[in-house]
């Protein structure tokens, strides 16, 4: 990753590249914020030399609604509708870490049945994200068919979410003290039918994408993340595991019922776009297996919510904590500070996109071909709302 700088802008004394657009050597173009090859509303300010990127700057803020600030003016229970919007694609980890922070600071023990149901909801959330995320990588190379297949099955998983929680995209199923309800009658049977479709989908995607000559030629060797970058740039989850570094909160700091489940997250060492996509493909299979294990091991009935004070008058003792879980993109954490009042003093969300889409993407895009921009960005699974909260 030490490109030949003779083709590149000269570096000024301040360490910044000198880009003289009037030299006709460089062209500045914007990818996003409205662009099919951008994951959500963000944009990349690219400086290109021919079709090669020589500098990239990520711009965010198109979705900024000041979530963290708004939560400082809301009672703890009122923070939930705000918090879940910090990642539209996978809102359930937001519910979980917010509940977990409140429970930790207030000293609440979550009943066992609720822990099983939370684990199930989090894995279902991962499943519905990966059903689009895995084939979505093919979409960046104009291979859109898998995405259509995945979207269909995702819709069926959203049906399960709807019967479990009442909502398709935003659920607010996980609340302080537990969850909102038990599994509906016949839920496990219907979920198993959906999982069989996912099994089939996994095989089809293997044929469609991973054995496809164009996909392989374009994704292999593209945007390699060296192992030594994992900590310096803040690389998490599947992107770190594709570089041979085991980063999965479910294994390193088991929460809820993960310690009672049998699973081993996949790691590889190639660390290119192909490897990151492949890791997510294995994650998809692991999620299906985990959902089956959870449904087999969880009790039929039980307490689903610990007793909590009246939520409108609930004052949480002064303190601070950091709670985390593993989202489909990697470690997803929340730092909460309380001052003894009925509203949080400060809430700070830490999602993997914060580092993936800024420091890391800016670096990875240098030396890349402009046609590979979308593929590289999607391989990091960025979710802009969690950057600009």
């Amino acid at each position: 990753m030490n490109p030949d700088r003779s083709l590149y802008p000269e570096m000024g004394e301040d360490g910044k590249p000198i880009i003289d657009l009037s030299s006709h050597k460089f062209l500045k173009i914007w990818q996003g914020p409205q662009h099919p090859g951008v994951t959500g509303n963000m944009s990349l300010e690219l400086t290109v030399n021919g079709d090669e990127i020589v500098e990239s700057k990520t711009h965010v803020g198109y979705l900024h609604r000041g979530f963290e600030k708004l939560m400082e003016r809301r009672k703890f229970i009122q923070c939930f509708p705000t918090c879940i919007r910090m990642c539209v694609a996978e809102p359930d980890p937001n519910e979980y870490i917010l509940s977990s922070c409140i429970e930790d600071l207030a000293g609440i023990e979550v009943p066992e049945m609720a822990q099983w149901l939370r684990t199930l909801a989090l894995e279902m959330a991962r499943l519905q994200v990966l059903l689009r995320g895995v084939p979505g990588q093919g979409g960046t190379f104009a291979l859109g068919l898998g995405y259509q297949w995945g979207n269909y099955i995702r819709d069926l998983i959203l049906d399960r979410f709807e019967e479990l929680t009442g909502g398709r995209v935003y659920h607010m199923y996980i609340l302080p003290g537990g969850v909102r309800g038990l599994l509906p009658d016949g839920f496990k049977k219907r979920m198993e039918e959906n999982l069989k479709l996912v099994d089939e989908f996994v095989k089809n995607i293997d044929d469609l994408m991973y054995n496809n000559a164009v996909f392989k030629q374009r994704a292999k060797g593209l945007a390699v993340i060296p192992k030594e970058w994992i900590d310096t740039y803040g690389v998490y989850g599947p992107a770190a595991r594709a570089a041979g570094v085991m980063r999965d909160v479910r294994k390193t700091h088991p929460y809820l019922k993960y310690a009672e489940l049998d699973f081993e997250p996949y790691t590889t060492t190639e660390s290119d776009v192909y490897a990151r996509s492949r890791v997510r493909w294995y994650d998809l299979q692991m999620t299906v297996d985990l959902i089956r294990q959870i449904m087999a091991k969880m009790p039929e009935k039980g307490e689903i919510k610990a007793e909590t004070p009246n939520v409108m008058h609930w004052r949480i003792p002064k303190g601070e904590t950091y709670q985390k879980c593993e989202s489909s993109r990697g470690e997803y954490g929340m730092y909460m500070v309380t001052d003894g009042s009925d509203m949080p003093r400060r809430v700070n969300l830490k999602g993997p996109s914060y580092t993936h889409a800024n420091a890391l993407l800016d670096k990875l895009l240098i030396n890349a071909n402009i046609a590979d921009t979308a593929a590289i960005m999607v391989s990091l699974a960025t979710c802009p709302p969690e950057i600009e909260r």
Binding site: V60, G61, Y322, N348, A359
Partner: protein
């Protein structure tokens, strides 16, 4: 974790220490020692990963609290290094040389809290906001409600309620 805290206390002046969870602790040090401690933790105690850097505005005390949350992936422990800095002309030594992703956090804090990190790359470039001329919006004295009322105008026919009062009237009408 206790050995680590003892080690830190022997080298730095720790004014406060909280063992939050088995794997998570918070220590408070003076502003002058904070970056030295963070560097020590990274280089000698295997806290090689920066989880986050953020600020808390203690308006009533006239200070910002900066929290550097570090992760030790080999021993699976986390430590939050807290430092209090004055709200007036808030400024902190930059640590962008320690992690490549640090400059993003510092740039955000400059924009959202008005905390300066002299020398940090692109520190004065807009990050999330564009052309913002008001108080840094994440400061406690920036009132989002007043800002909204002064900046935006309600469409006719729309009714707005105070969320707390409205929820109380719906959920606990007899209280």
């Amino acid at each position: 974790m206790k050995d680590l805290i003892k080690d830190i206390e022997s080298r730095f002046e720790v004014s406060d220490y909280i063992q939050k969870l088995d794997h998570l602790a918070f220590v408070t040090v003076e502003k002058e020692q904070a970056i030295a401690l963070v560097t020590y933790l990274r280089d000698y105690r295997k806290f090689t990963s920066l989880t986050l850097l953020t600020a808390v505005d203690w308006l009533e005390d006239g200070v910002f609290q900066l929290t550097y949350l570090l992760n030790n992936p080999s021993e699976l422990t986390e430590i939050g290094v807290r430092v209090m800095i004055d709200r007036e002309n808030a400024s902190m030594e930059s640590a962008h040389h320690l992690w490549e992703n640090m400059m993003t956090y510092q740039r955000e804090l400059r924009e959202m809290f008005g905390i300066d990190f002299p020398g940090s790359p692109r520190i004065n470039e807009d990050f999330i906001l564009e052309g913002w001329g008001d108080l840094p919006p994440y400061r406690r004295d920036f009132d989002t409600k007043v800002y909204s009322e002064e900046t935006y105008f309600p469409r006719p026919g729309r009714q707005s309620n105070d969320p707390a009062t409205y929820m109380k009237s719906k959920m606990y009408p007899n209280e």
